[in-house]
Symmetry: C2
Subunit: 430 residues, 2 copies
């Protein structure tokens, strides 16, 4: 029978690729725990409604949808925020606030395939719910920076660009842009890096007919720094909020990683305040992570008023960046000790040794078949063993066991009752 | 808007439930690593064909199926073995054998809801591919026992019952059962615990019309021990294989956990040799895990001849058992240190302290809002902090910080440059 490969846009995680995923997820967990976030998860599919409610019927095009056997429309989850809002809303006011939750989640989007984009991927989500303080935004921006740093990335590799939807609204009002243009411009700006300058100009002209107004928009997005904004609009409340955010980030020691950039708007309709994106430096400045404040979403899902801020980071672009920078560590050997038997007659004495090692938490394997010692050593090599333990022979009769360090072939003979400490110290010296 | 709860048969993993899942998965990973297995994963959905190929069109009833936007029929994966066979087959002979792989996978089955059964659940899968030796079967049975033991379960809590499809065939031939009855009887026996005795008798009569033959089948399944089988059939090759398996399990020190039981057949058509199930002792002897040899499956998926053996264990029934036995550990506190500020003026000095702690790997949080110290201590309590660190006041001016152990309110004042070691030792003494 002809068996098709896995579905387009999905990955088969053979052990090498899986080892990288485990490295990435372990790092993500470590960072989240240092920030005292708790793990949560949600169903892999949800009622379609919870996505269309937040993003409109348009979103369906990008979803894997299906009707279940009870006739209910479902969708594989394309993001975690709707599930988060649903679950937080369902608890009413009973969750202790602020809620500090993270999730490492598998997601699905039916998208055009391109570099850095897959139809099945993973995302780290960190969210703080129940605090409207800018300190919560600062905490999450610090967390996303520490997430990148924990993976070995530095200020030379990435940058967090920060703006605010509220600030942009203040600016739009100051230059006289009508309210009905805000949403389409947010959507357009979010796609700016993915379309040509000509396409951008044409699409902007469709939204804003007045040429003078388009020039003022252009001038606005050319402003560098918060001071430039103040020169345009005068002092506004949101400028003070952003200034406070940058002060806090300085206290966190994060100033080198962040900058203000009025061009950051984030496409999604539900952002209500500060927004930020993490970009890889060079190589087209790809977005690694993004987030912001969404103070009204939990209420939209029937919950109590719950100011919220969060970010998401995907595994695919981040994995590409780590590869590029040589930051994917070699995977640790799956087999610390391979146990062999010199003679047929002591083949059955291998399992008790394995038991001893495994009970001490040492990973080991041994051949299932009675084969020559030469073939056993080849299996040890193939298994990537750090040490080969040789049972049998004259040594065995004297209660001794031979340990062979595979790296250099160095051999030691140790008494059976000193086996564990000898193996432990050989494994440590690696 | 009325937001529906999550889909029927799925779970919302709030942090408490998630903490249990993480405990379970960490234990599973620990066991797999001790046995030198490598992690792998597969797409969450696959082409429908790979399931119907293995299990027939019937299986579709139990699947979540959908047509993707390219018109291809897909199914959410109900088990991992088809993906495993597909991925191993795709590599031809290039994988180093024996392959020792494990996966902790989320699966989906559209089933009638009942205790211990959900439509979305997790499974540990461990498989050895490329060895036809009974030693591989022994290794996996030892692994499933150590998996249970690592969770705190003992020989009083569970038992592994072992038989063999080949042995059963030998017996069926010896009593004169026609070949065409084998498959329906396997399917019936697998459901025996789930149906009444009357239903069983009626269904058996449909498969085997001859009353005398039915009596011989009844006698066969009443046999206890391998010796009883030998008395019925004379010595057969598979009896020797099973005897060898029990000898090996004795070498592993696992004899107390295992027994022969001719009633274990496993429903799935693809098993070819030894089969086993892990049962919880008492409480209706629910199956916790099951597996066996499937020597022809990889070939069915277009791969080279690849003898294989594996097992799967689900999270739901196992979780119920651990709960019943009081073996769910209290979750460790998500927040080691909650940092507070005595006075408004040193509120901004909290973030640098957090940075110091987090860089040392210590989990901590602090309030985002300037609130009274009383309210801050309440937040520390709500966060489940082990220690509250108090900045500010006279001590702060002298370079001192106050640490309050939340368990008993005990307070210590420490110099700032001795902060980390003092916190570390307070956390260790828990």
């Amino acid at each position: 029978m002809e068996i098709p490969p896995g579905p387009k846009g999905t990955r088969d995680f053979y052990p090498d690729l899986m080892a990288f995923q485990e490295h990435l997820f372990a790092s993500w967990r470590r960072t989240c725990r240092r920030y005292a976030f708790e793990a949560w998860e949600a169903p892999m599919f949800e009622h379609l409604d919870i996505y269309t409610q937040k993003s409109g019927a348009e979103i369906e095009k990008q979803l894997y949808t299906f009707e279940d056997k009870g006739g209910r429309m479902m969708a594989l989850r394309p993001e975690m925020t709707p599930s988060l809002a649903r679950m937080v809303a369902a608890k009413g006011t009973s969750l202790k606030r602020p809620v500090r939750w993270y999730s490492i989640a598998r997601l699905f989007r039916y998208e055009k395939m391109q570099k850095g984009r897959l139809r099945e991927f993973f995302q780290l989500n960190m969210d703080i719910l129940g605090s409207s303080e800018v300190g919560a935004d600062a905490e999450l921006i610090a967390a996303v920076i520490d997430m990148m740093r924990d993976l070995g990335l530095t200020g030379n590799d990435f940058q967090v660009r920060i703006s605010s939807r509220t600030l942009l609204e203040e600016c739009f009002c100051a230059i006289g842009l009508p309210k009905e243009c805000f949403a389409p411009i947010y959507a357009l700006l979010d796609r700016k890096n993915k379309i040509t300058d000509e396409e951008y100009t044409a699409e902007l002209a469709e939204i804003v007919a007045d040429g003078q107004l388009r020039q003022r928009i252009h001038d606005l997005f050319s402003v560098r720094g918060l001071d430039g904004i103040a020169a345009l609009t005068g002092a506004t409340p949101e400028q003070a909020v952003l200034a406070r955010l940058f002060t806090l980030l300085e206290k966190y020691g994060m100033s080198d990683y962040v900058c203000f950039d009025i061009n950051i708007v984030r496409g999604l309709a539900y952002y209500t305040g500060i927004v930020f994106e993490v970009f890889a430096v060079n190589k087209g400045m790809r977005a690694i992570a993004g987030g912001g404040r969404y103070d009204t979403l939990v209420e939209l899902y029937g919950g109590p008023p719950t100011p919220a801020v969060g970010f998401a980071a995907g595994d695919v672009v981040l994995g590409d960046l780590l590869q590029e920078r040589g930051l994917i560590p070699p995977s640790s050997p799956r087999c610390s000790v391979f146990i062999t038997a010199l003679d047929d007659k002591n083949f059955d004495e291998v399992a008790p040794v394995a038991r001893l090692l495994r009970n001490a938490g040492i990973s080991c394997a041994f051949p299932f078949k009675r084969i020559t010692i030469g073939k056993q050593l080849k299996q040890a090599d193939a298994a990537g063993a750090v040490i080969t333990l040789i049972t049998g022979g004259d040594e065995s009769a004297q209660g001794l066991l031979k340990l062979k360090r595979m790296r250099d072939g160095n051999e030691t003979t140790v008494p059976r009752d000193k086996l564990l400490e000898n193996i432990a110290s050989m494994l440590e010296e690696r």
